[in-house]
Symmetry: C2
Subunit: 192 residues, 2 copies
């Protein structure tokens, strides 16, 4: 029992107390439900891997987006991780494909360009017919650094490079918005 509590408590977001409660719950479950849980964990661990094209997490060799012929394979959106890709997938309005960096450049954390899937991106751009690369890394310091780096890398290839807009979020009231976002919104203003 102590071993189980320790194992659970080592997971992110689970403290000593919740680990105890979880363990208590688990040992009372019917045997087959516990089996289903451990199978799901093992299966995921065994079968989920990076898509060999876009590097998102998937349980098929090529992810459903990359293997969908109705999508526009000439437009690649670059995101930091699979959750960001899922956020755009949920909108249901983006018809291109993705490239998932699985991270962002962070000098502070010692994550350099070689630690994210950038080489793989450049290989794709060489081998595929790509007309536009949309950089959709987060609007954080790391995301912006990564965006700048990628843009400089791609520019010489002549492929169009765009960055998703930074500004006032939809529904936002100016008086409640931070100054940096206000200045970005001003700098990024578009002609009507």
């Amino acid at each position: 029992m102590n071993r189980l509590v320790d194992e659970l408590a080592s997971l992110p977001g689970i403290g000593e107390k919740s680990a105890g409660r979880l363990a208590d719950h688990l040992i009372r479950l019917p045997r087959e439900r516990v089996q289903r849980l451990t199978d799901a964990i093992t299966d995921a661990r065994e079968n989920v891997h990076f898509c060999s094209k876009c590097y998102t997490l998937t349980d098929t060799e090529i992810c459903p987006v990359c293997s969908n012929d109705t999508r526009d394979h000439g437009t690649i959106m670059i995101v930091e991780d699979t959750r960001d890709m899922q956020a755009y997938e949920k909108t249901g309005k983006y018809s291109g494909v993705y490239h998932v960096l699985q991270g962002a450049i962070s000098p502070m954390l010692g994550i350099g360009p070689n630690d994210i899937r950038l080489k793989e991106l450049m290989t794709r751009l060489q081998n595929e017919e790509v007309s536009e690369v949309i950089i959709a890394t987060n609007s954080s310091l790391e995301g912006e650094t990564t965006a700048m780096y990628i843009s400089k890398l791609i520019k010489p290839t002549g492929i169009k490079v765009t960055r998703i807009a930074s500004g006032v979020p939809v529904g936002g009231d100016l008086e409640n918005i931070d100054e940096i976002t206000l200045l970005r919104a001003l700098d990024g203003r578009v002609e009507l």
Copy 2:
């Protein structure tokens, strides 16, 4: 005492209970502090009015921004209210002037184009040398409606009309951002 409680309770954000507490506090204050408070209220009511140029709230005939000659009077930023103007003033980086609509068009609330300071804006555009109008109404339904309306109104004059950018706020992680903002950010992407 009851009259005071009723008066206080009629103010926005003050309920019956807080009104009671406030009244209790007020009657225990030294006479001169009460006088200072009532004077401040009366003064504000008597002396604060709309700037005769930009319609922000001010206690001078022309507000400090409009009367500042070092600012760029050829660039006018349109905002809904004085608090939005103050938000941009706090950034310290905007050097143009403002036009405060004192509201936004809202068919739902029955607020039409004639209920906000639009006629006054058009008069300014006729009489002043303006090279750019930056529409910085909120990113709400009303703010967007107002922005569209103003842009159509100004277009025929040939004056450049821009809209502050809508998109991912600075520091934002895509996975936590609403779908509409994600789509706006995608639509508003800029070439790097």
